[in-house]
C-alpha cells in the first residue's frame, strides 16, 4: 500500500467525514487523555500535518470509532497508517523499540524468563514452549526474514 497522506485520505475515505464527533464520543482513550479523534481526522483530510501529535499514539486501536462511523470512514485504520508515517519521521514512543528488538532477538514480544520457565514446569508444561524461540534453525531463519523487512532498518535509523 502506498504510504503517503493522499493515499491515506483516499484509502480510508477520510473525505466522507462530516465531523459529527461520534468517534470522539466513543473513544475510551479520549475519555482519559487529550486524544481527539475527530480533530485528527479533520486535520488529516484537510492536508494538515498531524504526524508530530503525541496523541496519535494514545489510540488503543479498539476500532469502536470505525465501527460506529455513520459515513464508513475507516478511522482506526487511518490512525494506524498515520502512525506508520510518523514512525518514518522518527516520531514514536522510544519504549516500543524494546518490544521490536525482543521480537528480532527472540521471536517473541514477551520473551520467556527463568521464573516463568519454572512455573511452566510446575504446571506440567514443557519447560520451554515449542516455538521458534527454542528452535535454533527456525530462529536463525526468522532473523533472516526480519533483516529483510523495513521495520528493522527503521528502528536502526531511529537509534542513530
Amino acid at each position: 500500500m502506498a504510504l503517503d497522506l493522499p493515499s491515506i485520505i483516499k484509502n480510508f475515505d477520510l473525505r466522507k467525514c462530516m465531523q459529527c464527533g461520534k468517534c470522539s464520543a466513543s473513544c475510551p482513550a479520549g475519555f482519559e487523555s487529550n486524544l481527539k479523534t475527530r480533530m485528527i481526522i479533520y486535520m488529516a483530510k484537510s492536508g494538515i500535518d498531524v504526524l508530530d501529535l503525541n496523541e496519535l499514539w494514545s489510540c488503543t486501536t479498539c476500532y469502536t470509532c470505525q465501527e460506529r462511523c455513520p459515513k464508513g470512514v475507516k478511522v482506526t485504520d487511518a490512525i494506524i497508517f498515520l502512525r506508520n508515517l510518523a514512525a518514518r519521521r522518527g516520531n514514536f514512543p522510544r519504549i516500543h523499540l524494546t518490544a521490536i528488538k525482543a521480537i528480532y532477538d527472540t521471536s517473541n514480544g514477551f520473551p520467556l524468563t527463568p521464573e516463568i520457565s519454572k512455573i511452566r514446569s510446575l504446571l506440567g508444561l514443557s519447560k520451554e514452549p515449542a516455538d521458534v524461540a527454542h528452535n535454533e534453525e527456525a530462529l536463525s531463519k526468522f532473523r533472516r526474514l526480519m533483516e529483510s523487512i523495513d521495520i528493522i532498518n527503521m528502528i536502526r535509523e531511529a537509534q542513530k
Binding site: 475510551p28 488503543t60 486501536t61 506508520n84 516455538d131 521458534v132 521495520i151
Partner: protein
C-alpha cells in the same frame, strides 16, 4: 478435527496457566491441538503501527506454518486474532500483496497460499455449547463480569458477533451455571491495546481504572476474559493501581476447566497476581456438594 494451537507470547511466557487450561479443556472436548514453531503474531498495536508491510510478512509466516500442515490455526488471544485474522483477510483480498509477501517468505523456504483459516477459540466453543453443558460437573454459581475485549468483536469484518450487542459469552457463562453481571461500558477496551500498554502507562492505567470501577460497583466475583493480553492488563494492572480492587481474573478456558471439575491448582490459578482464593474455595465447595 485437528488445529494448530497459536498460544501467543503472553499465554506461553507470562500466563502459562492459560496455556495449561487450554490444553485440558480442549482435550476434554475431544479437539486435538498440535504445536508448531511460531513467532510473535506480531503484536498488532506495536508492529502494525510502525510498518504495515513488515507486520504482514511476519503474520503471513505464522499463517503459512499452519497452512503447511493443512489444518486451521487456532488463537486463544484477541491480539493474535486481531493480527492473524486481519492479515489473512487482507492477503485474501489483495492477491498482489500475496506475491510480495511470498518474495520474503521464499527466502526462508516458506509460502503463503491462503488455503487455511484463522479461528478464535470462542467460535469453537460456540459450536459446542450442548457438549459443554454435558461436561459441566460443578455449578460454580459465580457472578461474572464479562470482558469481551476489542479484537474478537472488532473490526466486524471478522464476521461473527454483533460488536454492539454480542451474546456468546453470556450464553457460555449461563451454560456453566454462572451469572453474568451487567455494568456500564461493558464492551469498552481494557487500555492495553495499540501500543498504549507499553507506550503510555498512565493512560493505560487510567482506562483500566475506569473499567474496574464499574466492575467493582457491579459486585462481580471475578472478571472473565478471552484474551491473555487483556488478562495481563486486568490481573497485573490491579497491582499497579492505587485502588485495591482484588477482583480475580479468569481466562474463559480457566473458568470452563473449573466447571469441568478440574482443580484450581492444576489449572494454575494460584500463579495469577490477584488472589483467586475465593474462586478456588467456591469451586472446592461445589465439588464437595457434588460428592454428597
Amino acid at each position: 478435527m485437528r488445529y494448530s494451537l497459536f498460544p501467543g507470547c503472553i499465554a506461553k511466557n507470562l500466563y502459562p496457566s492459560i496455556e495449561k487450561a487450554t490444553s485440558i479443556v480442549f482435550k476434554e472436548l475431544g479437539i486435538e491441538l498440535v504445536e508448531d514453531p511460531y513467532t510473535c503474531c506480531p503484536a498488532p498495536g506495536v508492529i502494525r503501527s510502525y510498518d504495515f508491510d513488515s507486520w504482514l510478512v511476519i503474520a503471513a509466516r505464522n499463517i503459512a506454518t499452519a497452512e503447511a500442515r493443512g489444518i486451521p490455526l487456532l488463537t486463544i488471544c484477541n491480539g493474535c486474532y486481531g493480527t492473524l485474522g486481519a492479515a489473512d483477510r487482507y492477503l485474501k483480498e489483495h492477491p498482489e500483496s500475496v506475491e510480495r509477501v511470498n518474495k520474503f517468505l521464499g527466502m526462508i523456504e516458506m509460502r503463503y497460499q491462503g488455503t487455511t483459516r484463522v479461528i478464535h477459540f470462542v467460535d469453537l466453543i460456540k459450536e459446542r455449547l450442548p457438549q459443554i453443558r454435558e461436561a459441566v460437573k460443578v455449578e460454580l454459581d459465580l457472578k461474572v463480569a464479562i470482558h469481551y475485549g476489542c479484537h474478537y468483536l472488532k473490526p466486524s469484518a471478522h464476521g461473527g458477533e454483533n460488536p454492539e450487542r454480542p451474546e456468546i459469552l453470556e450464553k457460555i457463562v449461563e451454560c456453566l451455571g454462572c451469572e453474568s453481571v451487567d455494568f456500564p461500558e461493558k464492551l469498552s477496551c481494557c487500555g492495553a491495546g495499540g501500543g498504549v500498554w507499553s507506550g503510555n502507562e498512565d493512560l493505560s492505567m487510567a482506562i483500566l481504572q475506569r473499567k474496574l470501577n464499574f466492575i467493582k460497583k457491579a459486585g462481580a466475583d471475578c472478571i472473565l476474559d478471552i484474551c491473555p493480553f487483556c488478562h495481563l492488563q486486568l490481573d497485573q494492572g490491579q497491582k499497579r493501581l492505587k485502588t485495591r480492587f482484588e477482583i480475580p481474573v479468569l481466562h474463559l478456558n480457566q473458568l470452563i476447566g473449573l466447571s469441568f471439575g478440574i482443580k484450581d491448582k492444576i489449572l494454575g490459578l494460584h500463579t495469577h497476581m490477584v488472589s483467586t482464593r475465593n474462586i478456588a474455595k467456591n469451586a472446592k465447595k461445589a465439588r464437595k456438594d457434588l460428592l454428597q
